[in-house]
């Protein structure tokens, strides 16, 4: 598993299985060796994932509980499935084609309030590409956040906080050394951002103690952001009231 999402409306947990090119949905309280309630897998799904995950293909996913959809970054495309889909089902929408500028879509998040999809594309230059939520086919992104000022070198999990229009992005830093990688931070952009713009806020390697952050989620009730750090094998929780 390389991604996990919780659907608070339907009390379900969603994960990927990269090797079996599958999306698994579990009930919210699942524990132990419990079978998923639904599996999306098969030739009609077109699931292939992203090349940057190596053979770790179907890498990440996102759930939109408001519009009842599951979204998957799929290399050269974004696949959208009905949330309740099960088995070998075709996506209801596919964003794909030269105009999309998608070459290695590896991570994404949906903002159901602003009707936007934010996609992390790992191909050079690494970029956040923003699409309308209901886009379909060969469509241009409405915004591309990329360039040296962004500090984006690679991307982990992305999350959005729709009431404020924030995009939270894990930046695990330069490849190479297991530590001292440089460029490690959790960055916050706005869905209104476009171009070569730095994040609005950054939590980094200093006081933040981040080594290789790859996962991010948040608890708006307590105004906290949780970061999964793979080098530390740890979850770090930050009080971050500015964004809530």
């Amino acid at each position: 598993m390389h991604d996990i999402r919780y659907d608070p409306v339907h009390d379900e947990i969603l994960v990927t299985n990269p090797f079996a090119l599958a999306l698994l949905v579990f009930r919210g309280g699942a524990t132990g060796e419990e079978a998923p309630v639904r599996v999306i897998q098969g030739l009609r799904t077109q699931l292939i994932g992203s090349a940057s995950g190596g053979s770790n293909r179907v890498y990440r996913l996102e759930v939109d509980p408001i519009h009842n959809e599951i979204l998957v970054p799929n290399g050269d495309s974004i696949l959208v499935f009905p949330r309740e889909a099960s088995g070998d089902v075709a996506p209801v929408r596919v964003i794909r084609g030269a105009a999309t500028q998608l070459t290695d879509a590896n991570t994404l998040a949906v903002d159901p309030m602003h009707d936007l999809i934010v996609v992390g594309d790992e191909d050079r230059p690494v970029a956040l590409k923003v699409f309308n939520r209901t886009d379909n086919g060969n469509v241009k992104p409405r915004a591309i956040i990329a360039g040296p000022k962004t500090g984006l070198l690679s991307m982990g999990q992305i999350a959005t906080y729709p009431p404020k229009g924030w995009i939270l992005v894990c930046q695990p830093g330069k490849s190479g050394s297991e530590e001292d990688r440089g460029g490690v931070f959790l960055g916050v952009w706005s869905v209104f951002d476009n171009g070569d713009v730095p994040p609005r806020w950054k939590i980094g390697e200093g006081k933040g103690g981040l080594k290789r952050p790859r996962g991010v989620t948040f608890d708006p009730k307590h105004r906290e952001v949780m970061v999964a750090d793979m080098r530390l094998n740890a979850i770090l929780t930050f009080y971050f009231p500015e964004i809530f």
């Binding site: 996990i4 408001i66 989620t217 009080y239």
Partner: protein
């Protein structure tokens, strides 16, 4: 909590107003006599009682919501309902133009950290010459070396290792398999995910030292086995459903000399590997997740165009070709290559296989040991077994101390079977003939007794379950 805070704030305001009023009255009126004050108070329907009194009450100015903003019981559900009922933002909430934008350095210390501070062992190997046991720590990274006969007393907090190998120079991170050369004592350690190297250390290595040699491996290698007679080194490759064979002393960018890969092989998320050079057999455990790969049309950058490099990384899977196969042990001729089908397959519900990981052989008895990770057990099969057959023996139960065993080593010299337990910071030792719910002969424990491992390993994501106030972490 917010209501209590507001009440306390009002009370303080009232007390303050009362004190200021009293002091001001005294200052303004000057030497007013006590009878005059009493008369004035009575006139104002107040009596002196020796403590501050309510003079006047006013509501506080409305707050900006920072302190006592209404907060729902379930933040996420309300977030969802807010999304359904509120309008979207139409302007940039920060109101900054892109041109002058700079980042706000919001760096701060975390208020909480969930992290296991003890080693978690993924693999075990014994140096029978030095009587030392090597444990691979996949939580804090590195190798911990103990005496073979170390046994942590129940009252002890943990056993200190004789020495450790770890640190950035070692390139040890998320390593999952070990091999100790029976002649030289050199230690081979296989990285699974992040570094892409198999590293080799001399038997007396200690501390933060560079490996004596390293070999670039395909991404997602897991198991290791060595054919000492043929001087060949075998590695399983999870991500590409393959087995690659190198010269035993291969290093740097050297290419594999053989590759076993393809649909006929039935390799599916392969993990453990064991060799029977006497009977010329190769055994592999499979978790079962698999997809088809597109055959390469050109040399791949990932393998620098090396021969026998497994396809899959850049050529990619066939879209939608993923499948869940049952967990299995597939058996091949020792020199198998290409898309060779297995000669035997141990698979089915009677086998009890459940995420079968490391394999070990006891050739004299023709027995195959399986670290059965999520089964919390060690399964023993005959090397000639085939099909859906029950194990010959099963080590499982509360007395065994087994908890998510992933590593295994058969010490045929001393008649012992070692397990590395990912779930409890321990390695446990049994007789090679053990069966059932048996207590270990010895336990090397690296955390206080009963302390379960957090098992956060290589976390790539997180989710917050607002209903249960829980953080979900995939590994």
């Amino acid at each position: 909590m917010c209501c209590l805070r507001r009440f306390t704030g009002n009370l303080r305001l009232v007390v303050l107003i009362s004190l200021i009023g009293t002091a001001g009255y005294v200052l303004v009126v000057g030497r007013t006599t006590r009878p005059a004050m009493i008369a004035a108070s009575q006139q104002a329907l107040r009596r002196p009682v020796g403590r501050p009194q309510l003079v006047r009450s006013e509501s506080r100015a409305s707050s900006d919501g920072e302190m006592c903003e209404w907060m729902p019981v379930n933040g996420q559900v309300t977030l969802a309902s807010a999304i359904q009922h509120q309008g979207r933002l139409n302007t940039d909430p920060a109101g900054q133009g892109d041109e002058e934008r700079t980042s706000i350095d919001a760096d701060r210390a975390p208020i909480r950290i969930i992290r296991d501070s003890f080693p978690t062992y993924s693999a075990v190997a014994v140096d029978l010459k030095s009587n030392e046991v090597y444990l691979q720590d996949e939580n804090l990274f590195g190798l911990k070396i103990f005496n073979r006969l170390d046994d942590t007393p129940p009252a002890a907090r943990f056993t200190e290792p004789k020495r450790t190998i770890g640190g950035l120079e070692t390139r040890l991170e998320f390593n999952c398999a070990l091999y100790v050369d029976p002649k030289t004592g050199d230690v081979y350690s296989v990285n699974n995910d992040t570094v892409g190297l198999m590293t080799v250390f001399p038997h007396d290595a200690k501390g933060n030292v560079a490996p004596m040699r390293s070999l670039k491996t395909p991404h997602g290698t897991f198991g290791i086995a060595v054919n000492e007679e043929a001087q060949e080194l075998f590695l399983t490759v999870q991500h590409d459903n393959a087995v690659v064979v190198f010269r035993k002393t291969a290093e740097k960018d050297e290419a594999p000399i053989r590759l076993l890969q393809g649909e006929q092989t039935r390799l599916a998320d392969p993990h453990g590997i064991a060799l029977d050079s006497k009977n010329n057999l190769l055994f592999v455990t499979n978790h079962g997740s698999v997809h088809q790969v597109i055959p390469p049309k050109k040399p791949r950058a990932a393998g620098s165009g090396k021969p026998n490099w497994p396809s899959g990384r850049l050529d990619g899977p066939v879209p939608g070709s993923g499948k869940f196969n049952p967990p299995s042990i597939t058996v091949y001729p020792l020199k198998a290559s290409g898309d060779t089908p297995p000669v035997h397959v141990i698979e089915g519900p009677k086998t009890q296989l459940n995420w079968p990981s490391t394999l070990a052989l006891y050739p004299d008895r023709g027995e195959l040991f399986v670290a059965n990770d999520t089964g919390d057990s060690i399964l023993v099969f005959r090397t000639t077994d085939n099909g859906d057959i029950p194990p010959l023996r099963v080590i499982k139960g509360p007395k065994t101390g087994l908890s998510y065993p992933t590593g295994l080593f058969a010490d045929t010299k001393n008649g012992e079977l070692w397990a590395a337990d990912m779930g409890n910071h321990s390695a446990t030792v049994y007789p090679l003939t053990a069966n059932g719910d048996v207590a270990p002969l010895r336990t090397v424990r690296s955390a206080p007794l009963g302390k379960a491992a957090l098992d956060i390993g290589n976390p790539g994501a997180a989710a917050y379950d607002s209903k249960r106030d829980e953080i979900l972490v995939p590994n």
